[in-house]
Amino acid sequence: MYVYDEFDRTFLQERVAEFRDQVARRLSGELNEEEFKPLRLMNGVYLQLHAYMLRVCIPYGTLSSQQLRALGAVARKYDRGYGHFTTRQNIQFNWIKLNELPDAMADLAKVGIHGLQTSGNCIRNTTTDPWAGAAADEVEDPRLYAEVIRQWSTLHPEFTYLPRKFKIAITAAKHDRAAIRVHDIGLRLHKRDGETGFEVMVGGGLGRSPFIGKTIKDFLPKEHLLSYLEAVLRTYNLGGRRDNIYKARIKIQVHEMGAEAFAKKVEAEWAEIRDGALKLDEAALDAIRDRFQIPDLEALDDQPAELASALATDDAFARWHANSVAPHKAKGHAIVTLSLKPVGAPPGDATADQMDAIADLADQYAYGEIRVAHEQNLTFPYVRQKDLPALWAKLKAIGVATPNVGLLTDIISCPGLDYCSLANTRSIPIAQKLTERFADEARIADIGRLHVNISGCINACGHHHVGHIGILGVEKKDEEFFQITLGGKGNSKARIGELIGPAVAESEIVDVVESLVDTYLNLRTSPAETFVAAVERLGIEPFKERAYAPR
């Protein structure tokens, strides 16, 4: 955990006081809506279909147990007893009243969290690998650099009014668990000749014009991270389109200019500033590194007797372990994913009671730390292997141990028309029906890795473009229809899914997904060939044929 210093704490308190004054002036009529709207958005407050929605920033997806309890308390006191974890490692509360928002924010500020950088045309919360600091395959903990970016980007005076929102993601692992190639800037931390640096990708993004980010620098020495980011942002801020909201993201600028020409402009800008005040020295990095509290892990052996015994005697535990537990870089430890995708429930939601219970379990079994994953699940990054059987029983009791992580029912979904004022169709009911159709744990385990992503409109908050099966809601004459794409991937080999044909009716979508899955099961070379690998090998035709066959 990064621990805020006095500067950060004071800043947050002042920010809450400022927002409290702004709300009071709005409620009194001193500010009109046109004046107030940008102010509330700068604090993460949206007005949705039925109520105000507060989006709370979880910097690089890292929460302490104390912070999770505070989120639960806000859910209980100001909302309707639950929150929704998002694909950008944030949490949303759907029912907060305007005049209670300042109190909710004050409660959150006490534990160092807020709604800054979750809305508006600024640099948003930097996201990263939920396994950061624990993953066996990472170069180093990327959260250090995510925090560096946070300190640089928060209220950056030059980048407060960008042409559009701007999202940065960073990974330091071989396996990309942060979907960096579909971000405005993706940073991949790696080593070259013993030196740490970044591959820099720009212009990725989803929405109505999906693009995979293009590498404009193979290796950026780490000391130049901020100056180079500043050069990219400056190039975008000056050259990005402001005449058309649909063409204002950096991905359009990069696409229209070409990555090479864009990179040249960045390099020219960077040459002017690279050795200036933004150059990171080791002392600056150490000062930030020192404020991270890293758990002092015990020296333990792998495969302790408690774990071996449970694996040998309890099939349900073994299934969960095979699905939801990942190797840790420290011997005798494990990374545990808590599925927020139980059968029949909205993906990514957690009740206040669950948040409290998870916080307690984090204290008891996971060094008090929780991560939020972009797949809308939670992670305990530091768990002793010997504690896994006991932890599993307690996670199961609170409904967060469904062994479906990475499987068909681990669905990423936007809130859709049940909440969102931009949506064309509902998303959550489709996810619920799919989880019910595929409720059999052995069946989804046999199907294997399969990412289903659902968006209720072209803005693609459910990242449907990079779902192995992507589902996009479209409205036709007040009826809900769903387009299907196949073969999308959000990882290091990211690609945009291919549309298989006309949209299908809401009443048919679950059957169609099932027929796609059955097609895969019939055609896979072996269970080792995943759904997306089969789509890549076969193309979409055999799937398309079955999807539209009469039933």
Binding site: R26, L27, G29, N32, E33, L47, Q48, L49, H50, A51, Y52, R80, G81, Y82, K97, L98, N99, A345, P346, D349, A350, T351, A352, D353, L417, D418, Y419, T425, R426, I428, P429, Q432, E475, D478, E480
Partner: protein, 104 residues
């Protein structure tokens, strides 16, 4: 020639004016007396462009009570009571179509 300042609004049937209440964001509908109701049944109904523009003027003049006013198509029940005419508006009237987490 139509002045660019002249407002246009295409109205094809019964229409109500709806917004979100400033204090808590919930859906509200403009009534015939210029107030706001939490139920669409009490909404004023316009059937022509002029009528709906007049309702919108009233709504926009009261942004201290409700924000983001817009015209929404309605259908009229046998007794003339307005009801929502599309899915979006039905959801705004009845709330999310799913059980909320933690609900009994």
């Amino acid at each position: 020639m139509t002045s660019p300042l002249q407002r246009k609004l295409k109205i094809s049937g019964p229409t109500v004016v709806t917004a979100n209440r400033l204090a808590d964001g919930i859906s509200v509908w403009l009534t015939a007396t210029g107030g706001w109701s939490e139920t669409i049944a009490q909404a004023a109904v316009g059937t022509t462009s002029d009528e709906v523009l007049r309702l919108l003027d009233i709504a926009h003049a009261d942004e201290i009570t409700a924000v983001g006013a817009y015209p929404a198509p309605a259908i009229l029940a046998a007794d003339g009571t307005p009801q929502p005419a599309n899915l979006r508006e039905r959801i705004r009237v009845t709330g999310p179509t799913i059980s909320l987490p933690g609900a009994a």
